[in-house]
């Protein structure tokens, strides 16, 4: 079964706007990771946030983690057409492997 669940399932915004995606999970975690997938093929790692961290930045990306609510958010600022992709959160399960959510399909309209 999936651990992380992304919300919304699909998001469409105008270029230049900010995009926020959320991820909820069920069990305690070691870390939470966000990945991007273009064209339904290989995933690209974006950012990893550990359970003792609350916020992390990488370029236009900002990730927050609230372990009390078992949730994380990914914010992409000043979106670009090239940001159009599916975004997945992944958590480390009890079996010590990454478990991915269903993903959010982000579309940036020019």
């Amino acid at each position: 079964s999936q651990q992380g669940e992304e919300d919304p399932q699909a998001l469409s915004i105008q270029e230049g706007e900010n995009a926020t995606m959320n991820c909820s999970y069920k069990t305690s975690i070691n870390n939470l990771q966000w990945y991007r997938q273009n064209s339904g093929r290989g995933l690209v790692h974006l950012i990893l946030i550990r359970s003792n961290e609350r916020e992390k930045h990488s370029g236009r990306l900002r990730v927050t983690l609230d372990t009390s609510k078992k949730s994380s958010s990914l914010l992409i600022t000043a979106s670009r057409a090239a940001d159009t992709a599916s975004y997945f959160c992944a958590t480390v399960s009890r079996r010590q492997k990454l478990v991915f959510g269903q993903g959010t399909r982000l579309t940036i309209n020019p």
Binding site: G42, V44, R95, Q96
Partner: protein, 115 residues
Amino acid sequence: GAGVSQSPSNKVTEKGKDVELRCDPISGHTALYWYRQSLGQGLEFLIYFQGNSAPDKSGLPSDRFSAERTGGSVSTLTIQRTQQEDSAVYLCASSWEAGGRDTQYFGPGTRLTVL
């Protein structure tokens, strides 16, 4: 350096045939993972190798699926007697550390179509 590679990139087979999918991880990575992704869906964990430890096969959907990793490097995922529901993109990933504590680097995937 070279990333994770997978072959073939596309495979079309007939129902009932066996297929082998190959993954070449990044050199030195001790952990190797196989996932399956059906159209428009998330990633489904299949199997995980870590060094010389016994693999975690908890995600394999049936006994028609098996995988091996030779010499701690290349891995082969075998699907016997393929069924139409096996059609999906099969993704391989590797990482330095085990247990999801490190970034996973993904290959481009193999798109399997079972007719």
